[in-house]
């Protein structure tokens, strides 16, 4: 036998192992090819098998090949004439097992002691070679080769041993892979169950927050109307006004708490998604300053925004979340400052924008600073809880930090008791390639309606102005699709000055009304019985005539996925009921109508 030939065969068999992608086919592939390769030299195998055993000498895997059939997996059988059965008996015989454990080849002349009687060409087999597969110093299997001669040359014996080691490596790889696959699949099952539970939790939080927000929004809006939309019939005394203001502030805090809980839930389940676009951050900060002006004026504070000349006008970020960050930090600065004021500096450093929010407030104690961005941590629980002006949930800064990190930015704080606090935010000014490819890279796979959201946010943050009123000779008619009677009453009351209102308690009734009457705009709730907002939008898509009537989603449902779905189904804008005051809705409707 030519040594060069043997090396070539060995290299070929190695290649077969390396090229087998499906590791479960490593052993059958190897045995199959080895059978043919050995036929090319003088060994002429008539039968070849590979059997693998566990610690208890039980056969775990076995592959059999002869000249007349393709490779097959030998079944666990009790047929006393099967190789499977015979090898099992032999392995339980101490003498045979001892010989094999020594790692040497065993040649068996009594063919039928190993192979089945009725084997095709069985009479041509003169000898059966049992080559032990030793892995980690113990017998893990056997390579069984039936040949047409009674003896082996030393080089043939050496070659069979090399081949057996190759089979052992393949088995080890296959076994490891099987173990890994089993573990992966078990982990997958657990993760999939967790994912389902997570979805249920999100749904529960979304529904619960919706149910909590709805009555809170009604109370908030009626209080707003009593405080700021008083007419001759409602003249409030100073004491009543003060009580109402406290109630209004408390209900706003409750709504913020619900939003914060929703945000934390999204952050913790990695479901907080950002929708990037070019954002006029200066406009956003000015909007927040405007919203804080009543408090700033009441406390006789000053507030200044300084922008360095080399700072770009726009930043590539998520406008809604940027609004949330600055709103939180600026309102905190105003909240905890009694004298002096707040300065907001915007600078540029390399490709980043640096925002400093500096106040002259009471400062943060050094002991508390390390806990500042942790969930539910508040410096002085008694102080904050007893004072609705300074009370909070202890979630705001945790949310702020999480959002900033998601934007690939950072936040730090410097503070001195009695002198004030400075928050320093660093945000990338340009798009950043996300290293978190798993959560963000596929965002472009779906259209997210970013423009709508930005548009919505701009509208939301703008105060009503007389110049925004659409000049028209007659009142426009709104179809308000809303199931909650209190909400129906509320919106009818404050929209009725500017619009004609027709009510529908669900999507189905809305379609009935639309068959009889023309509407200029539809205000649509999402969660409704019989036909919800999503189903309404889907059905509307199939009716070209109805597509001309713009739909504004008016909801308290905190699921961004659902809001995105609404945008994809053709809604013009979404309004979170709890985030707007009644005076902000007519301008949004008018703008939609003007388009």
């Amino acid at each position: 036998m030519d040594a060069q030939n043997l090396l070539t065969i060995y290299a070929d068999l190695q290649k077969i192992l390396l090229n087998t992608r499906d590791t479960s086919k490593l052993l059958p592939n190897l045995i199959n090819h080895a059978f043919f390769k050995l036929s090319q030299i003088d060994m002429h195998p008539l039968y070849m098998g590979g059997l693998f055993i566990n610690e208890n000498k039980q056969i775990m895997d076995s592959y059999i090949k002869d000249a007349y059939s393709s490779i097959n997996v030998a079944e666990n059988t009790r047929d006393p004439d099967s190789t499977y059965y015979k090898v099992n008996v032999m392995l339980n015989n101490t003498n045979s097992a001892q010989k094999l454990n020594s790692g040497k080849l065993v040649l068996v002349d009594d063919i039928q002691a190993i192979l089945p009687k009725n084997l095709t060409d069985g009479d041509k087999i003169k000898c059966v070679i049992l080559s032990p597969i030793i892995i980690e110093n113990s017998l893990k299997g056997l390579l069984i080769i039936g040949i047409d001669k009674s003896t082996l040359l030393p080089e043939e014996e050496a070659f069979i041993q090399i081949m057996t080691n190759l089979a052992g490596s393949a088995y080890k790889l296959q076994d490891n892979q099987n173990t890994l696959t089993n573990i992966t699949q078990e982990l997958y099952k657990t993760n999939a169950q967790l994912r389902q539970l997570d979805k249920m939790k999100d749904q529960l939080i979304a529904v619960t927050s919706h149910e909590l927000r709805t009555p809170a929004t009604i109370v908030q809006n009626y209080l707003w109307m009593m405080l700021y939309k008083s007419d001759e019939r409602t003249i409030l005394g100073e004491k009543d006004k003060e009580r109402l203001e406290h109630s209004y502030m408390s209900i706003q805090n409750l709504i913020h708490l619900i939003s914060d809980i929703l945000d934390v839930s999204k952050i913790e389940s990695n479901r907080l998604e950002l929708n990037f676009s070019q954002v006029d951050y200066e406009g956003t900060i000015n909007d927040i300053i405007r919203a804080q002006m009543p408090k700033i004026t009441a406390k006789n504070l000053t507030i200044v925004l300084n922008k360095a000349p080399d700072v770009p006008d726009k930043i590539y970020t998520d406008i809604m979340r940027l609004h949330e960050i600055f709103s939180n930090l600026i309102s905190n600065a105003v909240k905890f400052t009694e004298k002096g004021g707040v300065v907001i500096n915007v600078k540029r450093k390399d490709n980043n924008l640096i925002f400093e929010i500096k106040d002259t407030g009471r400062g943060i104690s050094p002991e508390f600073l390390p806990n500042l961005f942790k969930k539910f941590y508040r410096e002085d629980i008694s102080y904050t809880a007893s004072n609705p002006e300074t009370g909070g949930t202890g979630l705001g800064l945790y949310i702020v930090k999480s959002i900033i990190e998601l934007m690939h930015g950072s936040i730090t704080v410097q503070s001195e008791l009695g002198r004030g606090t400075t928050f320093i935010i660093t945000l990338p000014a340009a798009p950043v390639n996300s290293p978190l490819l798993d959560t963000s890279a596929l965002k472009s796979l779906t259209s997210t309606g970013v423009i709508h959201r930005e548009d919505y946010l701009k509208k939301m943050s703008e105060r009503p102005s007389t110049t925004e009123v659409v000049i028209t000779d007659k009142k426009k008619t709104i179809l308000l699709v809303e199931d909650d009677p209190d909400m129906q009453h509320l919106y009818s009351e404050f929209l009725t000055d500017d619009f004609n209102i027709v009510l529908a308690e669900n999507g189905l009734t809305a379609f009935e009304k639309m068959e009889k009457e023309q509407f200029d705009v539809i205000l649509l709730d999402i969660m409704m019985p019989k036909m919800d907002g999503i189903k309404f939008l889907e059905k509307r898509k199939g009716n070209k005539h109805l597509l001309n009537v713009p739909v504004i989603i008016l909801t308290n449902l905190g699921s961004e996925d659902v809001l995105k779905q609404c945008m994809e189904l053709g809604a013009t804008a979404t309004i979170m009921k709890s985030d707007v005051t009644p005076d902000q809705i007519p301008p949004i409707i008018n703008r939609t109508l003007a388009k």
């Binding site: 992966t184 890279a441 596929l442």
Partner: protein
């Protein structure tokens, strides 16, 4: 948008929620599924076959439970595709 781009996108996103970055890495191994650094997905070849191959690939790695999750992932899109165009592996 090509319905198969939507299907494959939804499937990869769902698998990402369960196994993390491995889902995207494995999807990129399917010849004909191209995912750019930006996340933009394009298909080259028969979309139905590519979808079938991707789900089979996930099933081989993660087991039958992954097929169920793929079916869950495409539920919101099921009305957009006729039963004949749906890959066999995703049929309910």
């Amino acid at each position: 948008m090509d319905i198969y781009v939507e299907l494959i996108g939804a499937i990869i996103k769902e698998q990402q929620q369960i196994v993390g970055p491995a889902a995207l890495m494995q999807a990129k191994r399917i010849p004909g599924i191209h995912i750019e650094e930006s996340g933009h997905l394009t298909l080259e070849g028969d979309g139905k076959e590519l979808t079938q191959t991707l789900v089979e690939h996930y099933a081989q790695l993660f087991g039958q439970a992954s097929v169920q999750m793929c079916k869950e992932a495409i539920k919101p899109l099921i009305d957009k595709i006729s039963p004949d165009d749906l890959p066999v592996i995703l049929k309910i």
